[in-house]
């Protein structure tokens, strides 16, 4: 199936190619060296980005909590407390590295890295901008679903290795919750794949171009997709263990859940992993439903590669951060569900709804030949 608006994208669909044109000397270096350098550079960029996002995110979380709760939040460190995360981070790194005497030492050390890596690995296929993606995999969505499961392994290992009953209960809850909610998350992203006809995230975003870059979003494609977006957000909220579904680490019940015994930077890894996953799911929602990096009323493809990438990156991040803010807003409003209610919600409400959506979208595509409502209206008016 052809994309609805077949915008022709010029040659520079990746930053790497642009760099190759700028520095022709690269052609003469051995391939493995170039590949290694590119990999290291891209990984470093991703890590720096995610660390900055997590630092700023934690600050925004606290500031937002302050706003909602009629107070101000951190305001001592730098103007408006803007480098609070630096102080927190350095302090966490410098803390004593505590391990419980009876813990499983190897697994205890391994777990935080798994959780962190699992959340960061998703960044590989996030289409940040028109030509900015670490690897435009053909199986992009599938890849994200796969690597984000590493987080649940990290949680399970952490809870088990801590040798703490509260941690174990939290870990069990976490594993059950994340595994269960993978299904509604995956099922509510499949309609998007159907519309785009591809698993590649960049392809999905491209398919939403045209019509002023806003009316061809999958969100407005048809009523089922509109509904599917909210189902996805709900399920994603649960998959990333945010309130009201923060059962694995609920403070008032299981002291800190699977993180109870973690201190210092090991706790920091879990914390960062949680934020990283939040970013990944919100970025996926943006890419899948909100038009990704498409700049409203402007065609990113027709700008130069610098401005095109910069503007579309800004648009993409704005959309994603809006979703992150909504998630935090939910977090500071709602109480927490109970574990059996969570499971009931997943299996009795979300999973049937996603199947219903899937059926609806498939029928829609079959009947209307893959056209969305805005496209049909546009066709009506010429």
């Amino acid at each position: 199936m052809e994309p609805v608006a077949a915008t022709v994208y010029p040659n520079y669909d990746s930053v790497g190619r642009a760099i190759l044109e700028a520095f022709p000397i690269i052609d003469f270096l051995p391939v493995w060296l170039v590949a290694l350098v590119i990999m290291v550079v891209v990984a470093a960029c991703a890590i720096v980005f995610i660390l900055v996002f997590e630092g700023v995110g934690s600050l925004v979380l606290r500031k937002l909590a302050g706003d909602i709760q009629s107070r101000v939040g951190p305001n001592r460190v730098g103007p408006y407390g803007c480098i609070q995360f630096l102080a927190d981070g350095v302090k966490l790194i410098l803390k004593e590295d505590l391990k419980p005497a009876a813990c499983d030492r190897v697994l205890f050390r391994l777990a935080p890295y798994l959780a962190f890596v699992g959340s960061c690995a998703g960044l590989v296929v996030i289409p940040f901008a028109v030509g900015m993606i670490a690897a435009d995999l053909d199986i992009g969505i599938y890849y994200v679903m796969a690597v984000s499961s590493l987080v649940s392994i990290g949680i399970l290992l952490g809870g088990w290795a801590s040798n703490n009953k509260w941690s174990l209960v939290g870990a069990m809850r976490g594993a059950a919750q994340i595994v269960s909610f993978e299904i509604p998350v995956a099922m509510s992203i499949i309609p998007v794949i159907l519309v785009a006809g591809s698993l590649s995230t960049q392809e999905i975003v491209r398919s939403q171009g045209g019509l002023f870059g806003i009316f061809n979003w999958n969100l407005f494609h048809n009523p089922f997709l509109f509904f599917s977006f909210f189902v996805y957000l709900t399920a994603a909220q649960a998959e990333t263990c945010q309130t009201p579904f923060d059962l694995p680490e609920c403070e008032s019940e299981l002291v800190q859940g699977f993180m109870t015994e973690y201190s210092g930077i090991r706790f920091g890894y879990f914390f960062l992993g949680e934020f990283g996953e939040l970013f990944v799911v919100c970025a996926l929602a943006t890419a899948g439903y909100l038009g990704g990096w498409h700049i409203p009323f402007l065609d990113a493809g027709n700008l130069g590669w610098f401005w095109g990438n910069l503007l579309s990156l800004g648009v993409f991040l704005t959309k994603t951060f809006t979703l992150v803010l909504v998630s935090m807003w939910l977090r500071w409003t709602l109480p927490r569900t109970r574990v059996d209610q969570l499971m009931r919600m997943c299996w009795k409400y979300l999973v049937p709804l996603t199947f219903f959506n899937l059926l609806g979208v498939s029928l829609w595509l079959l009947i209307f030949d893959g056209k969305g409502i805005p496209a049909m209206i546009a066709a009506l008016f010429g």
Partner: protein, 378 residues
């Protein structure tokens, strides 16, 4: 074909989890020994005494008037109620008539303190349920009451305001206007709380049909206050055994009415507290309108020696019945001082109703009883 798994093979082991004394949601230092099968609790045994400070013993060693500041520490969320209850008890023992204005002032501060206590109870209950914001809203409004109390007696939490024979200070100028202002400000907020979280689907589902106590059970286990009224039994000491000026005041006894689930569940106890705040505002408004002028302190000898005898006085505190049983041998201090508190009684029934609930519901149960540990351990 595989054989069907027998029930024996599916048998799981129970384990014991220690909850507390330091746990974020045990409201202090309550310790629970949970025997659970996975998440299902088969037995929850409260273990008390981590805050046993010997208050009753202290009451026997210090002079009658000197015990007043210790009653603040008895139920720190409602110091005024304990203050006044102790003062009323000693006055009953010694047969002292206190001035009319002092009675009205005591009722005023007791009801204000009931509001502030229920605010924290509501807020911390919501925080136990995972919603952190209501706690801060509750405390934000409590600050206003704290300021009012600081104006009237000079302390935010440990008031020591009542005296044997009256109250320590008359109301400061402008206090009644400020209180009225608070009532006008606070009353619409209760509706806002309800919109914010009370009828939230998640909270309702967390609370309904959990920890059901029938009225009969509640009476048999000696519950009192909102915990008893949540079971639908309209027993309020302010009505059932009227003291002070409560007979002259118009207010309703709030009872649970099975709003969402079964009668006597956590949600009913929660709603009783919310509605009691409304009733308290109503009482405060009446007191502001009708408070008479006059002295606030009766003539009590400086070395106070009540006649030999005994008495029991009970008052309705936010946590139920706060009763002082006093025996005097005619000396300057009590021969025996026994305190009956609502939280301790709630701890008795805990083991009975916590069978078969989940770990999350244990937290809901603790929150719905609104226990205060110094009151339990004394």
């Amino acid at each position: 074909m595989t054989e069907p798994i027998s029930k024996e093979a599916l048998r799981t082991d129970e384990w014991t989890i220690n909850m507390g004394p330091h746990h974020p949601s045990t409201h202090g230092v309550l310790r629970l020994e949970l025997t659970t099968d996975g998440e299902i609790v088969s037995k929850a045994r409260p273990s008390l005494g981590y805050l046993h400070r010997g208050l009753e013993k202290i009451g026997e060693r210090v002079a009658w008037a000197q015990f007043m500041p210790f009653t603040d520490r008895l139920d720190y969320l409602a110091g005024m109620n304990c203050n006044c209850a102790y003062a009323w008890a000693v006055e009953k023992l010694a047969g002292i008539e206190i001035p009319e204005r002092a009675e009205w002032i005591r009722v005023l501060v007791c009801e204000l303190n009931r509001i502030s206590s229920h605010l924290v109870a509501w807020g911390s209950f919501c925080a136990d349920m995972g919603a952190f914001t209501p706690l801060l809203y509750g405390i934000r409004e409590r600050e206003w009451v704290n300021d009012l109390f600081e104006m009237v007696c000079g302390q935010r939490l440990t008031y020591n305001y009542a005296r044997i024979g009256g109250v320590s200070h008359d109301l400061p100028p402008g206090f009644l206007e400020k209180t009225k202002e608070f009532c006008d400000y606070f009353e619409p907020l209760i509706d806002e709380y309800n919109r914010l979280i009370t009828y939230n689907k998640i909270l309702v589902h967390r609370l309904k049909n959990i920890g059901v106590i029938s009225a009969r059970d509640a009476i048999e286990w000696g519950l009192s206050g909102p915990n008893l009224r949540g079971s639908g039994f309209a027993y309020d000491i302010r009505r059932a055994e009227p003291y002070s000026v409560y007979p002259k005041l118009d207010f309703n006894v709030v009872v649970g009415h099975a709003d969402r689930g079964t009668l006597g569940d956590c949600f009913d106890r929660y709603l009783v507290r919310i509605d009691e705040m409304r009733e308290s505002v109503k009482i405060v408004r009446q007191v502001i309108d009708r408070i008479p002028d006059g002295p606030v302190m009766a003539k009590v000898p400086r070395v106070f020696k009540p006649p030999a005898g005994e008495c029991y006085f009970r008052a309705e505190s936010p946590r139920g019945e706060t009763g002082f049983y006093l025996i005097s041998d005619g000396g300057t201090n009590a021969y025996r001082l026994k305190i009956r508190t609502g939280s301790y009684m709630a701890m008795n029934i805990f083991e009975k109703i916590s069978k078969g609930v989940m770990i999350s519901d244990i937290v809901a149960l603790i929150g719905s009883f609104d226990i205060i540990l110094p009151e339990t351990d004394r």
